[in-house]
């Protein structure tokens, strides 16, 4: 044995430490493997739905309803998308006043008649601060939605009809359910399958605040607007319908 060679006691010590280290690594590996198996195999059916439900949002994009035309191609009923701004006003007057102050930057987009005095008389309720916003305003209000609680920029379809009472009776009416316009009487009901179109479907992952993570967008079905339908009637001369 040379002078540099370790003594038996030193070798035993190194072996002991190495064995202990190996034991720790193996134990760590076993714990991780068992936990992974537990999560991915045995508790998968319980964990995964909750995880997916909170991380993945699924939604629809309502389709624009088709137009009703007369025999000459003039529009009798049509839909337009309307962007609006709603706000659930805080219940407390102090909170409401503070939130109203935060909205100063965007008040130019609000409809006339809204002031702090009016807001304080409607605490705890939902009001529409602006109707018929243009897309530029919608983009500008993105920051506002993240700044003030309860503020929502949303859109809906509004159905317009020809003004003549006789034509309106023939056209019938629509109601809005889940963002989709559904014909409930007259030609709107008779041709509902053609007019209603197909809503788009998507999934997207969201963060814990519900904000979209754009990279994770998946389109499940493209949105298809409804077809236009021509009716065998003629609108009264001189009364213009829609676009």
């Amino acid at each position: 044995m040379t002078a540099d060679a370790p003594q038996d006691g030193t070798l035993a010590l190194i072996r002991g430490r190495t064995t202990a280290l190996l034991f720790v690594f193996v134990l760590w590996g076993v714990v991780v493997t068992v936990r992974l198996a537990q999560c991915m195999i045995f508790q998968r059916s319980r964990i995964l739905p909750g995880l997916m439900a909170s991380a993945v949002s699924r939604g629809v994009i309502p389709a624009r309803r088709g137009r009703l035309l007369d025999r000459d191609g003039r529009t009798l009923a049509w839909s337009t998308r309307q962007f609006f701004l709603s706000w659930r006003i805080p219940a407390g007057k102090k909170d409401a006043a503070r939130a109203w102050h935060k909205l100063a930057e965007w008040r130019e987009y609000f409809d006339a008649g809204w002031s702090q005095t009016v807001i304080l008389t409607r605490t705890g309720t939902v009001c529409e601060l602006a109707r018929n916003l243009d897309p530029k305003a919608v983009i500008s209000l993105k920051k506002a939605e993240n700044t003030v609680d309860g503020l929502r920029v949303r859109s809906r379809f509004v159905r317009h009809r020809h003004p003549a009472p006789r034509i309106r009776r023939i056209l019938g009416r629509v109601v809005v359910r889940d963002g989709m316009e559904i014909g409930v009487s007259g030609a709107e009901k008779d041709h509902d399958a053609l007019l209603s179109g197909v809503p788009g479907q998507y999934t997207i992952m969201v963060d814990r605040h519900g904000n979209w993570l754009p990279e994770t967008w998946r389109s499940l079905r493209d949105v298809r607007p409804g077809y236009d339908v021509s009716l065998p009637i003629r609108a009264p001369a001189g009364e213009e319908g829609g676009p």
Binding site: S54, S57, R81, F83, P135, I139, Y202, T203, W217
Partner: protein
């Protein structure tokens, strides 16, 4: 196996292991890296076009921005407009 220190031998083993690991990483990661560097921007551009097209179709013919040069939406604005026009039916916190 003896653990009697033979530093040269252990060095050779370490270098071999390192080379093997690097080689494996290179081979398995090359394809993914290639996709990341070359395919992802193209895919992202396609998604971006999809968002802009969808947002434009959703808002109809209404001009979004006044300045003609700014007529194209950026991705964030397009996604925001899609979000405003859509309705979540399930999921989310």
């Amino acid at each position: 196996m003896s653990i009697n220190p033979d530093s040269e031998r252990w060095k050779r083993r370490f270098v071999l292991c390192l080379l093997f690991t690097l080689g494996a990483l290179f081979l398995t990661g090359a394809r993914e890296a290639n996709e990341g560097f070359h395919l992802r921007p193209a895919r992202r551009a396609a998604v971006s076009r999809h968002w802009q097209s969808l947002a434009s179709s959703l808002i109809g013919d209404r001009p979004v921005l006044e300045h003609p040069r700014a007529a194209e939406l950026d991705d964030a604005d397009a996604v925001w407009l899609i979000q405003v026009c859509s309705r979540p039916i399930s999921g989310g916190p």
